[in-house]
């Protein structure tokens, strides 16, 4: 059973891990290969702040809330294991600030210690008169991805730096199942009008006195188009912008100015902090996450594809729940193929 994963961001690597964990003992001849043009530290997952938090509201996408919760619970369980530091997972508390009253977010029962901000706390943030405090998890891509790659390599998973041009390419090479985790560039493999980049730009700052994340939500702007400050284990990530349809991965000085001014207004202690670097990345934005099977006929061969892409700005937040769902779909494929002699692999 030859499995190829396209994409080595958090989605690709965690799905590979999940499938290996669940099937390597029952599928004697299971091999997993990972193909990607970019590996850590150059993936979208690496540039992200690494903060677990879904968008405020799921607007009916309850499956996504379920996957978010599964991810949080999984990461929380890892926290008490000796691996947590090496995986880049730790707790951090902070503030979600709203310019006006807003209903409680979808994640209020998932995170720890969720409560409303008191009047005195809100006095620290002029312009925001409503909000919440809670403890959430950090999961830093620059640490988590290398840890995942190590884990997979130790179990015989092979990695290839190669841009896959088509599913057919892999089918012709003898791959049985493709796990498509190609993120924002999934459209290159199969056109998807629902998929579009949500460009983000961030500034990494040296400000170790900050121990809380601060996210702001303005009714007028969309998520992440409003200032946010997220301390990491080494540097603080300051953002944000969310520019739909913008494919540029270059840093933009106008964005930098807007981000920096708004952040210093929100957190005056940043004023003299040392700026280390800028980075721009493309969130793989989609109306819903695409997590489904598709049988694709490629001339002589039919190939099973499991799509797992389109996680927008919440890939790290949702990754484990999606990996488990993808793994479940994988199980279905194996079961079906076992039943049908013609498709025996």
């Amino acid at each position: 059973m030859r499995v190829a994963v396209i994409g080595a961001g958090v989605i690709g690597l965690s799905t590979a891990k999940c499938i290996y964990e669940q099937y390597h003992s029952t599928q004697g001849n299971l091999t997993i290969e990972v193909y990607a043009d970019r590996f850590t530290p150059l993936t979208t997952s690496d540039g992200a702040a690494g903060f677990w938090q879904p968008y405020l509201y799921d607007n009916g996408r309850t499956e996504e809330t379920k996957w978010n919760k599964e991810t949080f619970d999984y990461l929380l369980s890892v926290l008490s294991s000796p691996e947590s530091v090496k995986m880049g997972i730790f707790l951090q508390s902070g503030y979600n600030l709203c310019s006006d009253y807003a209903p409680e977010p979808s994640f209020k029962d998932i995170v720890l210690g969720f409560r409303h901000l008191t009047k005195r706390e809100l006095e620290m943030f002029p312009g925001y008169n409503h909000g919440w405090f809670n403890t959430a998890l950090m999961i830093e891509g620059k640490t988590y991805l290398p840890w995942l790659m190590d884990w997979l390599q130790n179990r015989g998973v092979m990695f290839y730096q190669k841009k896959i041009e088509s599913f057919k390419e892999l089918a012709d090479a003898g791959v049985d199942i493709i796990i498509n985790c190609s993120g924002v560039r999934s459209g290159d493999l199969q056109p998807d009008p629902q998929l579009t980049p949500g460009r983000g730009q961030i500034i990494k700052v040296d400000a170790p006195w900050l121990k809380h994340w601060i996210l702001t939500h303005n009714k007028r702007s969309s998520t992440y188009n409003s200032p946010y400050i997220i301390p990491g284990s080494r540097l603080v990530t300051v953002g944000g912008v969310f520019q739909v349809g913008n494919w540029s991965e270059a840093n933009n000085s106008i964005d930098h100015k807007k981000i920096w001014e708004e952040a210093c207004h929100l957190e005056p202690s940043l004023k003299h902090a040392r700026i280390v670097e800028d980075w721009a990345g493309l969130r793989p934005v989609r109306t819903t996450v695409r997590l489904e099977r598709e049988k694709i006929s490629c001339g002589q061969n039919d190939i099973e594809v499991i799509h797992n892409y389109g996680h927008g700005g919440f890939g790290l937040t949702i990754h484990w729940g999606c990996a488990m769902e993808a793994s479940r779909l994988f199980g279905q494929i194996i079961e079906n193929s076992a039943k049908t002699p013609k498709a025996r692999l």
């Binding site: 210690g113 405090f133 121990k211 284990s233 080494r234 005056p268 202690s269």
Partner: protein, 341 residues
């Protein structure tokens, strides 16, 4: 116009806070700060500097609340300003946990910090030996940065600094009109206050940047406080113990106790150890006194501000303001007409 000459004895957090309050509020006074030890060699320097305290037994509760609130408001304003990094002031969240439910579950400062609440049952599951806890956000003030920052402020307000050892306050009576005594543990010999005694504390500095929350055991012996660059991990409380050298066996025990609360601490890098002698006293002494000098008509007014035990950083600004009030009283009541306010 003759200015009143004020001397502040002591360069710890109490000394410099009081000196700044006086120099900034009373521009007609010439303020000099005298001490033998300065940052980084004061008791304040090694303190974690996290804002919360135990209640003192004999001081009016409203006064203690006022001390706490004045200090909190002062430090919060710095934390919210561009001065925060230079002053070493930051917000810090965490919890205090207890093996037995304490007599007072809501401390007097509960509504003075941010977001005070009890830990839920599921949060307590993490600490199987503890049955009660409180979570809140407070302020951390690191004196290794804060003291130099205060000194800058003091000098900008016209203050002068002098390094010398004072054996008796009377030595200063000839030169100064008013003495402010912030000598901490030194008050035991300086003014003969037998109530002041050392309470030794040993801590480790550990690098573990993934730990963002403080945890303190309600017994005050086991705690860790994430700071700007490292964690302060402790501790000990040894009454009457004057040993300034770190004890390796105690360091091991401190780490063991703290790792029980936070296992990932074991992965941290120990940067060093530090020992400080808290200026223990039943209550802090914040009051005025008149000292006569031998064979001389000249009396000298003294304002005492010492004996804060482990609550020095927490109550520095509040007690400094109280001391300032006493200084003003003295200058109004008794000073030469030129210095009357």
């Amino acid at each position: 116009m003759k200015r009143a000459k004020v001397v502040v004895v002591g360069a710890g957090v109490i000394g410099f806070s009081t000196a700044v309050c006086i120099a900034e509020s009373l521009p007609l006074c010439a303020v000099t700060l005298v001490a033998d030890q300065f940052s980084p060699d004061t008791t304040s320097d090694g303190a974690a500097g996290i804002m919360f305290v135990s209640k003192y037994p004999d001081i009016d509760l409203e006064r203690q609340k006022r001390w706490f609130k004045d200090s909190f408001d002062h430090l919060l304003a710095i934390a919210q300003s561009d001065q925060a990094p230079e002053a070493g002031v930051m917000l810090s969240s965490g919890c205090q946990i207890f093996r037995e439910v304490p007599a007072q579950t809501v401390p007097f400062w509960a509504d003075l910090v941010h977001g005070f609440r009890f830990l839920t049952e599921s949060e307590l599951k993490r600490f199987p030996e503890h049955c009660f806890g409180q979570a809140f956000t407070t302020i951390k003030c690191e004196c290794s940065a804060y003291l130099p920052w205060l000194e800058k402020r003091f000098r900008r307000a016209g203050g002068k600094v002098q390094q010398s050892h004072v054996n008796h306050l009377q030595e200063l009576a000839g030169t100064y009109d008013l003495i402010v005594n912030c000598s901490g543990l030194g008050a035991r010999s300086l003014v003969g206050d037998q109530e002041v005694h050392p309470v030794r504390g040993q801590v480790l500095k550990v690098q573990a940047p993934w730990i963002n929350h403080f945890i303190r055991d309600g017994d005050g012996l086991t705690y860790f406080y994430p700071g700007v660059h490292s964690l302060t991990v402790g501790g000990t409380r040894q009454e009457g113990d004057r040993r300034l050298e770190a004890d390796p066996a105690e360091s091991e025990d401190i780490l063991r106790r703290c790792c029980l609360l936070e296992p990932s601490l074991a992965k941290g890098k120990v940067l060093g150890e530090w020992v400080g002698l808290r200026p223990g006293r039943r209550n802090p002494r914040v009051e005025r006194e008149v000292l006569g000098t031998q064979g001389s008509v000249r009396r000298v007014h003294v304002v005492h501000n010492y004996g804060h035990g482990g609550g020095g950083v927490t109550l520095a600004w509040g007690t400094a303001l109280d001391a300032l009030g006493l200084v003003k009283q003295i200058l109004n009541d008794t000073g030469p007409p030129q210095a009357r306010l």
